[in-house]
Symmetry: C2
Subunit: 385 residues, 2 copies
């Protein structure tokens, strides 16, 4: 079976993008990806579109986007896995090449979330659990879910609010170096600790923003990749898992089982271990989520995640640089685009073209960890240069 | 690369299913599929869920369904391709086996459309084009789109209202033999011709109904399939195509380019020709759509589709029996379930267990043709016994 290479990546500015339509936003990612791969839409045989939102006026947003990108007539599928939707699009485009059905495919993750009519995004995303029981009966919101994780982790392992704040400070620092990030300003631990409480212990700076954005990844077979690029980045494996809709059916809030399972699968298929990675993007929708990810992915022992960030081990120069593109926290979290954005950032890292936020590349291995909901989905993608 | 076999299928009753919740409806399809494959949820490694609707209270309906089916923890993705959503789910589950990532996967297509709050289904589905231009400015509805096809086909090729009616009569005849079909009554040509006009020349009996339903397909690698069944049905190929969102950018209304392209791809990969099929399910959301499909798939020459049905060539005993499970027209069209339902019906045909509506099986070849929107998506799946 062919290996599958990333041969082109593109990324729109993330943020409040009410200045463009959904198709225009997609074009901001697809066009640079095509240029990066030195191909035209004619060469793309299949497009997977990652859109998680249900709030678009168009009933078929993927079709409208596809036409605008010049890809009408190609194979087409919309993929959804909540906040891991972009990774689902990558997995689909990867499979279409891996099976030999296509030589060149594109995964486009895209979302517009700002200024949407109807229920607020907080309400919509609050439903990303078991709606009828948890949202409707108990009024659970998304920050509320992650606050459960944070309080239990603090109680059991002594994780502190300062450690949570340090995740935010780190990710804002790198976001400020990333011109496509939603937030471009460094913050301090005091800024984070003194921001208003959203769901204790999570404060405003512990939460990722609502953003608009798009990111595109072009994949090719090994044979085709050789003709397109001298610096292919290989998709080594994609581990996929899920968990119960009801968080009441989870054993505890100390981690995400879906992450553990997805990582196990991905590590096994790629024959790698957690200490081999040069750089990683993890799903930091809330600061506590990044700490859980450190532990669930094996970057440190269970319960030591707070210490890992406090010690600076997840910054550039540390044991495993994490979210050095700003993460969801500072780069933004346009649901469908987040997974593809991770792959774009890590491709730049493995190609050593990440500029000021370049991590040292030794083994040529990177990991993208993308969670949907509160561990309802997890996709772990392993890349190798 | 492994071949991929269908080793189990299951189908709920289609119709007004306000008696069950979405997960319960999914269970009605997944449980018999598991029993048919003689496996348990433990054996299923990945679930693709085909849900096209954006109207569910749950923001993550696939997760809620997955938990109820006992599949929490497995790989999970929701797939959408408008009315071809079920086929997209099959393609995804197929790819997960074909790539060797899984030995056993399930594709579940499911939709609940009856009694939904908010805009009517006619409005929602009317948006399955280029909303901003065609729906919003011109008030195009879905029957209106297909009426454009019908009037142009009648003008150019002399296709008649009686021929359209004969598609409905045929599909209601076979629907009456299918206990899972929404409609269980045969109708006459007069019934069809005298029914009220929806969008001329399409009358009530030219239109498929709004339905609830679910259908499940279990796929396995060749090695695994050998341990599970003596009557595997092989997925030979899946051709996927698309077209412009705006129908104003189509060259004519005499056929669907997406069908032609998807069929070309599927035929080439499976190394088959249109005259080799024993039986087919085609996307008869309107009677004219079935006639277009005959021609676009190569079952007859362009313009001869009306004559083909008039001559009885698409009934059992004819050249190519089409929609002998009742089709969308009589079996119903729960958007996400339609594509998986086609695969379920054709699997029964190739296993020669279709009872009164069994077509003669000579070459052991069947074709499923599933269109999303008005040719915005097309998936053509070829099966072999």
């Amino acid at each position: 079976m062919t290996r599958v290479a990333i041969v082109g990546v593109g990324h729109s500015k993330f943020g409040d993008r009410r200045d463009v339509s959904l198709p225009e936003l997609g074009f901001e990612a697809s066009k640079p990806a095509l240029l990066d791969a030195n191909i035209t839409p004619e060469d793309v045989e299949f497009l997977s579109v990652g859109i998680a939102g249900t709030w678009y006026e168009d009933f078929l947003p993927a079709v409208v986007v596809s036409e605008y990108l010049g890809l009408a007539g190609k194979g087409l599928m919309r993929c959804e896995a909540a906040c891991a939707t972009g990774s689902a699009a990558v997995a689909t485009a990867y499979n279409m090449v891996k099976t030999g059905q296509c030589d060149v495919t594109m995964a486009l993750g895209i979302e517009k979330m700002m200024g949407v009519d109807g229920p607020t995004m907080t309400e919509v995303i609050g439903r990303a659990g078991y709606y009828l029981w948890e949202f409707h009966n108990f009024g659970m919101t998304f920050p509320g879910y992650y606050a459960l994780h944070a309080t239990q982790h603090m109680k059991k392992y002594g994780t502190t609010e300062e450690q949570l704040a340090k995740v935010a400070v780190k990710n804002h620092k790198y976001g400020a170096m990333n011109p496509t990030a939603h937030f471009q300003r460094p913050i301090t631990v005091d800024d984070a600790l003194s921001s208003r409480v959203v769901a204790w212990p999570l404060k405003l700076y512990d939460c990722c923003p609502v953003s608009d954005g798009a990111a595109a990844v072009i994949l090719a077979s090994e044979e085709k990749a050789k003709t397109l690029t001298d610096s292919p980045v290989w998709v080594e494996s994609i581990g996929i898992s899920s968990d119960t809709a009801s968080v009441s059916r989870r054993s505890d809030f100390l981690g995400l089982r879906a992450t553990v399972k997805a990582a196990e699968k991905a590590f096994k298929m790629a024959n790698v271990k957690p200490d081999m990675f040069d750089v990683a993007d993890v799903h930091d929708c809330f600061t506590i989520a990044e700490i859980l990810a450190y532990e669930d992915l094996g970057f440190c022992e269970k319960g030591k995640g707070g210490q890992l960030v406090e010690d600076g081990q997840t910054e550039i120069g540390g044991k495993i640089p994490v979210n050095v593109d700003g993460g969801l926290k500072a780069k933004g979290h346009p649901l469908g685009a987040t997974g593809t954005s991770m792959i774009v950032g890590l491709t730049h890292q493995l190609r050593k073209e990440a500029g000021k936020s370049q991590a040292p590349i030794k083994n040529g291995l990177a990991l993208a960890h993308n969670v949907g909901g509160t561990g309802h989905y997890c996709y772990v993608t392993i890349l190798r240069s």
